[in-house]
Symmetry: C2
Subunit: 332 residues, 2 copies
């Protein structure tokens, strides 16, 4: 079966790490049709639009998309693209890799972030000279859909413990946002209960204290959109930064994969960017398209190279992007 | 000049640590009139109300209030009490104390959290079976008032560096909440500019990654209400937890002081709670009422005892609350 995969390099180091990830995908004998598309600051400078309609449509029509990073226009690119793939969940693993300097090397968590609503569905209004409002939206349907996904995710042993009994933790702020986060919390816990999945809960502020104190308490964390944004970035800080972390925006029959890092303007164009996060995003893409064994092989090769292979500057090495990529391809 | 100070122990270890803090205040030859008032879970069980009108009124009429902690009813108690003192800023220092096991002992930051609006001014509605909304509120007036306070705070050398040139950092999510956090960001930066105070900015998610990676980059952080709640709790996790952290809810001619920790039901009633956060909150109260030298003496005594005095169980010791309190009073 052939897969149509849209490839958007975007800006900055996106132009270096996405080709590296494509090289890894091409190393397998799989039938991919890659379609290149444009988005980001450079595209805006050229065409007047950060996300041209052709790109939006191509992403919507594809089987999956691999996206790099966008600069100033990041929100204008990534938020509509999440919508283009009809993504209801953003999957964000944060694990400390061997040989990488991490504040909490024992961290091994996956965030399942609601990807359609909360403040991101924000209707904002300037009501007077002095006052602006944002209408935050929470629905039972989106909360339940996320929870169903979470139950399958842990049930399939895809959580860090690999054990369906591990269950998940819901992080929220329902003591203050009683109606909206109250609804989220209640629906997520109800679905877990119906499915016989263990679920506990934390207030998101308490979670922000406890995660650095002891990350081993947590495995899969289910949260509203902005909570997931901030808390998963916090976890990134505990495993050594954003340089290695992939993510998946999963929809009903489409998905978009992106490294968590940005455009890294300070090193862009020098060929020294760390391609690992993009390559691990490609591993998630492989798994999503049903090539689970290939996904595992990529992950194993990455860990191998991190243990004793060439390293880029962010990890204290001096290797170029293509040396690291070649080493990973070599060990597939 | 006599000061009327309302004292609310609340629930759990609040009943142990607040009397300890009062003992410290009484050790000085100052003219305090302490007024006891009730609030919290136990009060609700007895009277039907977590926050009786007499307590609300007493707090509003006093010069300052010292509050312990409340259990399940925390939000019903603390949010109206912040309003009773007309508090526009929540001051939350997070510093690692000597001899305390901290993930990032070099952390030394102060959060200045907006204390009246954002999602906390939340108008929530259940619009249908499926959908609820929350209206988040941001005004220029509250943003500017917070910024004016921040400029005075750093200008007076009250930031961690003690240096007016250190300026402050604004943390926000204006790339998504463009109108509301956009307004907040713009007004705060405008006030800093008018006052000649250095200010830089971070997206709150990027801040959550960077703070654990290198807390020494930051000093005073100015943020919207919920951002301040979560990010200051994250900082608490870096300095070893909530056990030692005080906070101040400052209004125009009134203020409320509270330890950041909760009721600790697991150890409540045993006389072994760590009184440090409550005592440091009393130090902030002393400073607020103009007794700056006495505040400094409390802080110094606390550091002294943390270095080589008796310790409670949370810090690996076996001392009782009153032993630690006596040691602190002894070294004033
Ligand atoms: C760029 C921004 C809109 C985005 C978000 O807030 O979701 C980013 O922070 C992320 O987490 O992918
Ligand atoms: C109890 C709760 C309402 C409160 C808040 O969210 O402000 C608490 O978390 C705090 O930070 O003081």
């Amino acid at each position: 079966m052939s897969h149509e995969v849209v490839v958007i390099e975007g800006d900055g180091i996106g132009r270096e790490v996405v080709p590296a990830a494509v090289e890894v995908l091409e190393a397998f004998d799989l039938d991919f049709e890659f379609v290149e598309a444009e988005a980001g600051d450079a595209t805006k400078a050229e065409t007047g639009e950060a996300l041209p309609a052709e790109t939006y449509d191509a992403v919507g029509d594809a089987d999956a998309t691999l996206f790099g990073a966008a600069g100033e226009t990041a929100a204008d690119v990534i938020l509509p693209l999440r919508e283009a793939v009809d993504s209801f969940v953003n999957v964000r693993p944060a694990v400390a890799y061997p040989g990488v300097d991490a504040l909490r090397p024992e961290t091994d968590v996956v965030f399942l972030r609601e990807n359609t609503e909360g403040v991101y569905a924000g209707h904002e209004d300037r009501l007077s000279e002095d006052l602006s409002t944002l209408t935050r939206v929470v629905t039972s349907s989106a909360s339940r859909e996320l929870a169903e996904y979470a139950c399958e995710f842990v049930g399939d042993g895809r959580g860090p413990a690999g054990d369906p009994d591990e269950g998940f933790t819901v992080a929220h702020k329902a003591n203050v946002m009683r109606e909206t986060d109250g609804r989220f919390r209640e629906e997520v816990l109800a679905v877990a209960d119906e499915r016989g999945v263990d679920a506990d809960e934390e207030l998101m502020d308490a979670f922000a204290t406890k995660l650095p104190l002891d990350p081993t308490q947590y495995g899969v964390i289910v949260c509203p959109n902005l909570a997931g944004d901030v808390l998963s970035d916090l976890a990134a800080g505990l495993v050594g930064g954003l340089g290695l972390l992939p993510s998946a925006n999963v929809g009903h029959d489409n998905a978009l994969f992106e490294p968590v890092h940005g455009t890294a303007p300070d090193i862009a164009g020098e060929g020294v960017a760390n391609p690992t996060a993009a390559i691990l995003s490609a591993a998630m893409l492989l798994e999503y398209l049903g090539h689970v064994e290939e996904g595992t092989r990529v992950r194993d090769a990455v860990e191998d190279v991190l243990s004793d292979g060439p390293r880029t500057g962010d990890l204290g090495g001096a290797a170029a992007t293509d040396e690291v990529t070649a080493a990973i391809v070599d060990r597939l």
